[in-house]
């Protein structure tokens, strides 16, 4: 069993990140459970989206200790501090996350995304990064299919592939 959580803010596509992660893993044959937490307002507010996957049916989707959490915004991080602190690995956006979390790996995700002109698809950068960190291989093809069925394929695809290239300063294994 492994688990990955995305944290952020309304408008960043956090739920979509979790959705597409779940779908990709599902297509790969995993049992998956995807949950999310967001406010009632249409924009702003913290958002959490996560996925648990396993080779056998998921017993309990209520995860306390995630294998990886990726925080794309301060709001999400603050709200779920309790989970973040327990997380096995925590990756935060260097710019958009302000508070210090011990053990967190800072990555300039949003800066890279902005540079590359895929700021609006930052979520997909995170998705690819998540797969990388979790050591999930052979998933790009599936993702490509899933992205093709959605709007903004080119942008999304570009962002997604950027995630593959992100260099992080700790070794999470290789693909």
């Amino acid at each position: 069993m492994f688990s990955i959580a995305y944290l952020g803010r309304g408008g960043q596509g956090i739920v979509f990140a979790a959705t597409i992660t779940a779908e990709a893993l599902y297509e790969k044959g995993y049992y998956v459970a995807q949950l999310q937490n967001y406010g009632a307002s249409v924009r702003g507010g913290s958002v959490l989206g996560y996925v648990v996957a396993d080779n056998k049916p998921i017993k309990n989707p209520f995860v306390e200790v995630f294998d990886v959490m990726i925080a794309l915004h301060e709001e999400g991080l603050k709200r779920w501090k309790c989970l973040v602190e327990k997380s096995k690995k925590i990756i935060v956006d260097e710019k958009l996350v302000k508070s210090e979390v011990s053990g967190a790996i800072k990555v300039p995700l949003s800066s890279i995304a902005e540079e590359e002109g895929v700021y609006q698809a930052l979520n997909l950068v995170a998705v690819r990064l998540a797969f990388k960190v979790l050591g999930i291989t052979g998933i790009d093809e599936v993702m490509d299919k899933l992205l093709k069925n959605r709007k903004n394929y080119d942008l999304n695809k570009k962002a997604y592939m950027i995630g593959k290239e992100i260099v992080i300063f700790r070794d999470f294994g290789t693909e």
Binding site: A40, S41, V42, R43, G44, G45
Partner: protein, 276 residues
């Protein structure tokens, strides 16, 4: 920036801004028109105004954004709550703000009976054509044929024309404006806040939901606004057109206007009889 402030802000709870509305949501424009009306009437503090709303995006306008007493009530129940407030203290001016779903669907019965009683309330209905807050389902105002999550094959139901319906009740004032008709809207607010101060006063604002109507049409809110400037048309003008032409337009204007005694006046008289 030298700190100039938007004139609306003096009526708002600044600490909770920006609002939770979607970017480009027309709800904020309705606020501007309302506040400008207050300002032009030289009503600078809303202590004696009570805002009552139900549940829905538009119902969040007074709660928490307007700096005044506000009751954010159950879905559909703003009018009875407002009625209770007004009856208990007629010195308060009570204003209801709500969506078409809230006021005309689940709250339709209260709307009807408050209008029948000519209850002394101002009711502002923001008709965004859908249920915004619950993500764009059809409302009783949704045009026939429109695709929404609950009408995936195109709405089979006829929409209702709320203003026209209320015009055939005892209500004192009934008007309908498009959000693009900002000045008319503002003046309508002035009318019911400053001039006709009793009875049931209803103003419908036609303001399609940016997220669940305009975006689905692949338009920007600015484009929609400009489009409405052409399609919203005065009642009188419309009536001069050939029948076939009319359906292309959204009829707006004052459907009804008078200043008959409202429920409060009638009730006062009633009480005076009881004391004889």
């Amino acid at each position: 920036m030298s700190g100039h402030e938007h004139p609306s802000l003096k009526y708002m709870r600044k600490e909770v801004l920006p609002t939770a509305f979607c970017p480009g949501c027309f709800n904020g424009i309705v606020m501007n028109a309302l506040f400008q009306a207050f300002e032009e009437l030289e009503i600078l503090d809303l202590k004696k105004y009570v805002f009552v709303s139900g549940i829905g995006c538009s119902s969040w306008i007074p709660s928490p954004y307007i700096k005044a007493d506000s009751l954010h009530t159950l879905h559909g129940r703003a009018i009875p709550v407002a009625t209770g407030v007004k009856l208990a203290n007629p010195d308060l001016e009570v204003i209801v703000i709500g969506g078409d779903g809230d006021l005309a669907s689940i709250g339709g019965n209260h709307l009807l009976h408050a209008a029948r009683r000519n209850m002394d309330l101002v009711v502002i209905m923001i008709n965004n054509l859908v249920y915004g807050m619950t993500r764009g389902q059809a409302a009783p105002t949704t045009p026939k044929g429109m695709i929404t999550p609950t009408t995936p094959y195109g709405n089979p139901e006829e929409p209702m024309d709320v203003a026209r319906l209320l015009a055939s009740t005892n209500a004192n004032y009934v008007a309908k404006w498009c959000i693009s008709q900002y000045m008319f809207l503002k003046n309508s607010f002035k009318k019911v806040l400053g001039e006709i101060k009793r009875g049931f006063r209803f103003i419908e604002v036609y303001a399609p939901c940016t997220t669940f109507v305009i975006r689905r049409e692949n338009k920007t809110p600015g484009q929609k606004l400009k489009e409405l400037m052409n399609t919203c048309i005065g009642l009188e003008k419309l009536e001069k057109m050939p029948r076939e032409e009319r359906t292309k337009y959204i009829p707006t204007g004052v459907f009804k206007e008078n200043d008959k005694p409202g429920f409060i006046d009638n009730y006062r008289q009633y009480v005076s009889i009881s004391k004889r």
